[in-house]
């Protein structure tokens, strides 16, 4: 049986016909929309490489059935930059060498963006490590990742202060 669903992906409304309900959000993004920035690492919810924002919250797209997310608002790594201006978290990852091979990086960045929205870590490196524990980096670039998140958080705090001043 075919199932029709509509999703908003990086700001654009998209309609899909699914001929099989087994399609995950991860596979839909990669195979149907060719948004291959979202990575398939373990495909079992353990590595975080597939992290995306669904309705503003970070989740593992490998463990989410597309058919169950009718009407959801999805943001992937392809949707965070503004034309040629990188998202502050992307820029901070470059500035602090927050990666080596780069495979986990889209998931790390989406997770960091989600974490900053959750406002549960602030500028405490211990809290950042705890709140980013769902993203594995087999190259071991964790030190740079924490530094990048700290810088991005500081930039966000500063711009929030400017706005409220």
């Amino acid at each position: 049986m075919n199932h029709s669903i509509s999703l908003t992906v990086n700001g654009a409304r998209r309609e899909f016909v699914l001929d099989d309900p087994r399609v995950t959000l991860l596979d839909l993004l990669r195979e149907r929309l060719h948004l291959t920035g979202t990575k398939k690492g373990c495909d079992r919810g353990q590595c975080g490489a597939c992290t995306i924002l669904v309705d503003g919250k970070r989740i593992n797209s490998c463990l989410a059935l597309a058919i169950s997310h009718e009407g959801a608002d999805i943001v992937t790594i392809e949707g965070v930059a503004r034309s040629d201006q990188l998202h502050p978290v992307q820029a901070a990852f470059i500035a602090h060498d927050g990666f080596q091979c780069g495979f986990c990086t889209p998931g790390q960045i989406m997770s960091a963006i989600g974490m900053m929205r959750e406002a549960q870590a602030g500028s405490d490196p211990e809290r950042i490590r705890e709140c980013m524990s769902g993203n594995l980096c087999r190259c071991g670039a964790y030190a740079g990742i924490v530094d990048a998140v700290l810088e991005a958080q500081a930039g966000m705090d500063e711009s929030n202060q400017r706005r409220s001043a």
């Binding site: 049986m1 309900p21 087994r22 989740i59 059935l65 058919i67 997770s111 705890e130 769902g134």
Partner: protein
């Protein structure tokens, strides 16, 4: 993954009818179920998607002082609800010590209760497992079994229930509201999960079609907010299941314990309420000696099911530590590393 039919019911009654059929399974977030389906461990013919049902995602303060948590509330939304965390701090700490932020954002209250064991032999379809396939045998018994059960296990199954959330919930006498073919009923959380006995394939007391619609905390559960902790020993500090864990909650007045609650995680096929051990603390001062006595009482019936005798001593020590920290008072803020006995900020007094 085996093909399945997808059903999206419009009402709870439709959901129950659709899921009462053989081979049907409910789908909430799917963070455990999809993993099991990808591995061929769970092979449902039909998924009944609950995520679009109305009215299952609210946290309601009840007139009698209790709290009702809808089955579709996410683990993260519940843990980060400020009023909830203030009233039930050990429950919030347990939630935040489980899984990863991504999984907590998706995973639901009902799904957490019904998650399956993480026993490696249950997951490995090439191994014999009585829980996955009734009567096939148990390769965990002679296998790598250092994290398996030390309480309530049987010759047929030595798996543990992996939930953190359920441990303080069972300590606080949580109640599970169930909608079934014959209408609404409720049972104590302590009655939901089953010990394996001769039928380890049945995890819970639920019948086909039964749907958990809410978890309720009775009014008395709020009385422990000032002295409550959840502690969890893991193979690593974050994003790991408990080797052993303990929820301790005390009501202390005038230097004496009026009431104590204690439950253990990672030790049995269910969250393990240690009622007989709680009685040790009635009317006594919160001292190290009393807590040692509680720990011995709580593990009296414990037996290794393999290379896991160390878990019994570890459980005793985590009980003493959890009680010691609970007696010292619930921290004003959630610890930076929730439930970690090794956290630099936990203020631990080493027992």
């Amino acid at each position: 993954m085996k093909p399945f039919d997808y059903v999206r019911p419009a009402t709870v009654a439709e959901a129950v009818a659709a899921a009462a059929q053989p081979g049907a399974s409910y789908l909430a977030a799917g963070t455990n179920l999809l993993d099991l389906m990808k591995g061929g461990v769970s092979r449902p013919d039909r998924l009944v998607d609950l995520t679009h049902l109305e009215g299952l995602d609210a946290i309601d303060r009840l007139a009698d002082g209790g709290l009702r948590i809808g089955a579709l509330v996410s683990n993260a939304d519940l843990a980060h609800d400020a009023a909830f965390a203030k009233s039930y701090p050990a429950v919030a700490e347990a939630l935040l010590s489980g899984a990863s932020a991504q999984l907590r954002n998706a995973a639901t209250v009902g799904g957490n209760l019904l998650q399956r064991t993480r026993c490696a032999y249950f997951y490995d379809t090439a191994s014999r497992c009585n829980k996955r396939e009734a009567g096939s045998g148990c390769d965990a018994r002679g296998g790598e079994n250092r994290t398996q059960a030390v309480l309530g296990w049987s010759a047929n199954c030595i798996a543990t229930h992996p939930s953190d959330f359920c441990v303080p919930l069972v300590a606080l006498d949580a109640i599970v509201e169930i909608e079934g073919k014959n209408g609404r009923r409720e049972i104590a959380l302590d009655e939901l999960h089953r010990l394996p006995g001769d039928t380890p394939e049945r995890d819970s007391a639920l019948e086909p079609g039964d749907l958990i619609v809410a978890v309720r905390l009775p009014p008395a559960a709020r009385g422990f907010a000032a002295h409550a902790r959840y502690l969890k020993v893991r193979e690593r500090t974050s994003y790991a299941f408990a080797v052993v864990s303990a929820a301790a909650a005390l009501r202390i007045e005038n230097g004496k314990i009026y009431e104590a609650r204690l439950a253990l995680g990672g030790v049995a096929a269910k969250p393990w309420r240690a009622r007989a051990a709680e009685d040790v603390l009635r009317g006594v001062a919160p001292t190290a000696d009393a807590f040692q006595e509680v720990a011995w009482r709580a593990l009296t019936d414990a037996k290794p099911s393999g290379d896991n005798a160390f878990k019994i001593e570890l459980a005793r020590r985590i009980v003493v530590r959890a009680l010691t920290l609970a007696a010292a008072g619930t921290p004003a803020r959630m610890p930076a590393l929730p439930a970690s006995p090794f956290a630099s900020t936990s203020g631990a007094i080493h027992a």
